[in-house]
């Protein structure tokens, strides 16, 4: 019970901090002070108080995007073990629900972008759904590999502490590398998308929400942060599937780990440039192949 409450509290409260940590890391690389760590929370508080302008002729779908963008990742987080603590909800086949909840969010975010009728937002929606279609097999190849290593069909079982790194180190390295790419692509970070640019022609996620403002845009930002948090937690557990003896230490290790992932993303964003858009599918197919090789190594 306590575990579930802590789980909920973390997934509700922590995500905006991650964006702050990334921004601070990038600022440190650039020799700037950067925005305060809590800037994400300030932004949300500001946006929720604002009025909003809806594009003329848009329908309920325009607002369904931000709503699904928050609800789906929050629910997905309930299926995911945070560090050494089991997920609040776990059943055989829950990883499929986990992946498809993000797909539900994508359906409505992309539809909301098309609802405005803007050419740029249509462009962003097209890129989002196309690139995700390549990230999805990479994710599922990884799930199959983890299912073969652990013999379990639920996220809590697959990501539970076990001798995985000892018995199947090489496949896990490949899956982790592939999922690192998926983590960056799904959260629209460099090298796939630059969350800082405002040049619509090169953007994917940002360009889909050009017309959202006020509370709706607040939900968009919050939903994106929750997604980043949840996928970071997934990635973290693949890289670091160890449990401490003390449950409280586990929570601490988890929070520290997620923040480390955020710093890692900040470092990647500081030292790399965005890829040319035509190269993005190639990198994603590469990620698919990495996790496919990881799965093949487990053939026996």
């Amino acid at each position: 019970m306590i575990d579930t409450l802590v789980h909920l509290a973390l997934v509700l409260a922590l995500p905006p901090l991650l964006t702050g940590v990334i921004a601070k890391t990038k600022a440190a690389f650039a020799g700037r002070n950067g925005p305060p760590l809590l800037q994400g929370y300030y932004d949300l508080a500001k946006l929720l108080r604002k009025g909003s302008i809806l594009p003329a002729g848009s329908t309920w779908v325009f607002l369904a995007g931000p709503v699904a963008g928050v609800a789906a990742p929050l629910l997905a987080s309930l299926l995911l073990p945070f560090g050494g603590h089991e997920a609040p909800l776990s059943f055989a086949g829950d990883m499929i629900l986990f992946a498809y909840l993000f797909a539900l969010a994508r359906f409505f975010t992309a539809s909301a972008a098309l609802d405005t009728g803007s050419a740029f937002e249509g462009m962003g929606a097209a890129r989002e759904v196309a690139f995700s279609a390549l990230a999805e097999p990479a994710l599922f190849f990884g799930f199959v590999a983890l299912a073969r290593i652990s013999g379990s069909l639920s996220l809590s079982g697959m990501l539970g502490s076990g001798p995985g790194w000892v018995t199947a180190g090489a496949p896990l390295v490949l899956v982790a590398a592939s999922w690192a790419v998926v983590l960056l692509a799904e959260n629209c970070r460099i090298p796939f998308d630059d969350p800082n640019t405002h040049l619509a022609l090169t953007m994917i996620h940002e360009v889909m929400v050009l017309d959202h403002g006020g509370p709706a845009f607040g939900l968009v930002l919050y939903g994106a942060a929750v997604k980043l948090f949840v996928l970071s937690a997934l990635f973290l557990r693949v890289v670091f599937p160890f449990n401490a003896t003390d449950p409280n230490l586990d929570w601490l290790a988890f929070v520290a780990g997620v923040l480390l992932v955020a710093i890692g993303i900040g470092v990647v964003e500081s030292v790399m440039a965005r890829l040319k858009l035509v190269k993005v599918p190639q990198l994603l197919v590469g990620a698919c192949l990495l996790s496919a090789f990881g799965m093949l190594l487990l053939a026996r």
Partner: protein, 660 residues
């Protein structure tokens, strides 16, 4: 009792349209046909539900004064699972069709179409319960021919006539192959009824021949790639309610044939499961890729039938492979998943076709690149179309997710086992994931291009009616019924779990898995999760609504500072799908016309891309051209000169005489 209900329902459906052919007053005929269809569907649905819930098998056997034939019908859980969506979709489509393909617009064709609609519903029902080979073939042929008259319902349309001809060709090849299949089946089983084959047949050459003929004959009807050639044009050209019936339930008779045949084989070889698995995966991935390349809304939906048949066959492949490997739990999961998808696709595909038909009617075109903004004219249709789109993309909380989840679970369960067999299943998982993600892309495109944004250019007014002619209950009602069924099966998938398990047990006779379906795959938990999705979305939406209540104004869409944006600047359906269509260019072979813009400030530019059917254009048509050429060479012998014909006769006789 349940069997009599189904037979009575089928008879009522089939007979309802007869008075309309004879009566002078079209309105009376329409009412009678509708009443027959509704009453028949209700009876049939009750019978199918009764059989699915109780699980009792009922059989009627009467002799028939034809050699080898008997009126032998039987209703078991497997038939019931196919019958339930048949009657539901048929009733919904009949109500919708009575309005959209009515007597005002089609005075000559409407009564005839109503008759054939009811007849094909009744014939499909008879196919699903027939247990005598000749009765099955007779019902099959009635169904196929009635469907031909449905595809060509609009006799004015050249497109419909062409599509009908292609369909007629394909369905007769299918029937011909099935004649061979049943002849072989009879010699292998020694019976004219659908009885289990003796053990050992499956592994022999006769068994292989049977399986190949079964795949060809039933695969042609199901639209399994590469036998789908008739399906996209037929579904595109037929009236919407006909496409709904054909795509939703008629093509499933092909799936039924495959499942019924394999259930009669006591020892299916592993290669059969692998063949289904590979065909299913190819059909799913390429079906959705072709769908992405379409401009025609109904043709896009037709290609999605190819995709969904692929998902179903993938599930059947897992099930059959499980039987061959002696793992009843895979058989249960695979067959339950595939059969559940049969039911679900029979609900959301008619829903989408009815919505698409109305959208195309109001826009006056089926070309998605010329539509847009229809959600403002048809808000209810748009909402129900979104429900269908979410369901067919396999997203929670609707029913498409529940069945795809079962198929996934069967694949995962098999993939974690040891051996090369598991590795094959392991590649099915990402294939299904890719299919799901591309289907999502395709339905974001279809829904967005048709219903969202702004109308692209002037849409011609259909039949002189104003664009906003309302949404009468006869149109919204059937769609709402189908959407409600989708929601019910998505939120409470556990209610059908016992029926699924029973049907899967019929499809996979033999050892029973140690655990029941409820323990292997917790559909109840999936339902709870779906409910959680709905509740959480509602909660966030309420929160947003309270925040928005303060001050919300409408403003123009921001278009990057460009001074006068027009609706034609919107991203079109074709541009939206350009990326994935390019990746699959090796299979799709898009035809490009016009050059993309090359230099700054172009005066005018045109660019078109069309994705046609590669199998039809590059394989079937060339082969038939070659055949026609060969036949033309034979014309040298046939010139109309009587004396030379007599010479042939004499020459043949002389040759024969020298032989003896």
């Amino acid at each position: 009792m349940s069997l009599l209900l189904v037979l009575g329902g089928a008879l009522l459906c089939a007979a309802g349209g007869v008075p309309g052919l004879l009566l002078r007053r079209a309105e009376t005929g329409r009412r009678l046909a509708l009443a027959g269809s509704l009453a028949g569907s209700l009876l049939g649905l009750a019978g199918a539900a009764l059989a699915a819930v109780t699980g009792t098998v009922e059989t009627i056997q009467r002799s028939w004064p034809l050699p080898g034939a008997a009126f032998h019908v039987s209703l078991d859980a497997l038939s019931a699972l196919f019958l339930a969506p048949l009657f539901l979709a048929s009733a919904a489509a009949a109500v919708s069709g009575a309005r959209s393909f009515g007597d005002e617009a089609h005075p000559d064709d409407a009564p005839r179409t109503r008759f054939f609609f009811g007849l094909s519903t009744g014939a499909i029902a008879l196919v699903l319960v027939a247990r005598n080979l000749l009765l099955f073939l007779a019902a099959w042929e009635v169904m196929a021919l009635a469907a031909f008259f449905l595809v060509t319902a609009d006799r004015e349309s050249r497109e419909a006539r062409d599509a009908g001809r292609l369909y007629l060709f394909a369905t007769h090849v299918s029937t011909l192959v099935l004649f061979g299949f049943f002849a072989l089946f009879r010699s292998a089983s020694g019976s004219t009824e659908l009885v289990p084959l003796p053990a050992g047949v499956a592994g022999s050459d006769a068994g292989t021949a049977l399986f190949v003929l079964c795949l060809l004959g039933f695969g042609l009807k199901a639209g399994l790639l590469p036998l789908h050639i008739w399906l996209p044009p037929a579904h595109a050209a037929a009236p919407a309610h006909v496409s709904a019936l054909m795509s939703g339930v008629l093509i499933k008779t092909g799936i039924y044939g495959i499942v019924r045949f394999t259930s009669l084989v006591p020892d299916p070889p592993a290669s059969w499961g692998d063949a289904l698995f590979l065909l299913g995966a190819a059909s799913a991935v390429l079906g959705v890729a072709f769908a992405l390349g379409q401009h025609d809304l109904k043709r896009l939906l037709a290609w999605h039938s190819v995709e969904n048949i692929g998902i179903i066959v993938l599930g059947l492949g897992v099930g059959l492979g499980g039987r061959a490997a002696g793992r009843p739990e895979w058989a249960l999961l695979g067959f339950a998943g595939g059969l559940f998808h049969v039911v679900n696709h029979g609900l959301f595909k008619p829903l989408l076709f009815l919505g698409a038909g109305e959208a195309a009617h109001v826009a006056g075109t089926r070309d998605m690149d010329r539509m847009g903004g229809l959600a403002r004219v048809l808000p209810k249709t748009a909402l129900l179309f979104v429900a269908g789109a979410v369901a067919i993309s396999g997203l929670p909380p609707l029913n498409g997710f529940a069945s795809e989840w079962l198929v996934y679970l069967g694949l995962f369960d098999r993939a974690r086992a040891t051996g090369a067999d598991a590795l094959r299943a392991a590649f099915g998982v990402p294939a299904l994931a890719l299919t799901g993600a591309l289907a999502l892309a395709c339905f974001v495109k279809a829904h967005g291009a048709v219903f969202l944004g702004n109308a692209r250019g002037e849409a011609p007014q259909p039949h002189g009616q104003p664009a906003s002619h309302g949404e009468p209950p006869a149109h919204v009602g059937p769609m709402a019924l189908l959407a409600a069924a989708c929601a019910l099966l998505g939120l409470l998938p556990a209610v059908v779990a016992p029926a699924l398990a029973r049907a899967a047990a019929v499809a996979a006779p033999g050892p029973v898995p140690a655990k029941p379906l409820a323990e292997l795959a917790s559909l109840g938990t999936v339902g709870v999760a779906a409910l959680a999705v709905v509740l959480l979305v509602a909660a966030v939406a309420l929160l947003l609504r309270r925040r928005l209540a303060a001050e919300t104004t409408a403003g123009p869409t921001w278009d990057c500072g460009y001074a006068s944006p027009t609706a034609r600047m919107q991203y079109t359906a074709s541009s939206f799908a350009r990326g994935p269509v390019g990746w699959f260019g090796w299979a799709l072979r898009p035809r490009l016309k016009g050059a993309p813009v090359a230099k700054l400030f172009p005066a005018s530019a045109r660019f078109e891309s069309h994705v046609l059917d590669t199998v039809l254009d590059r394989a079937v048509v060339p082969v038939f051209r070659a055949g026609a050429w060969l036949a033309r060479q034979g014309r040298v012998l046939q010139h109309g000169k009587m004396q030379l014909y007599l010479l042939y006769v004499v020459a043949t006789l002389v040759a024969l005489l020298f032989q003896v």
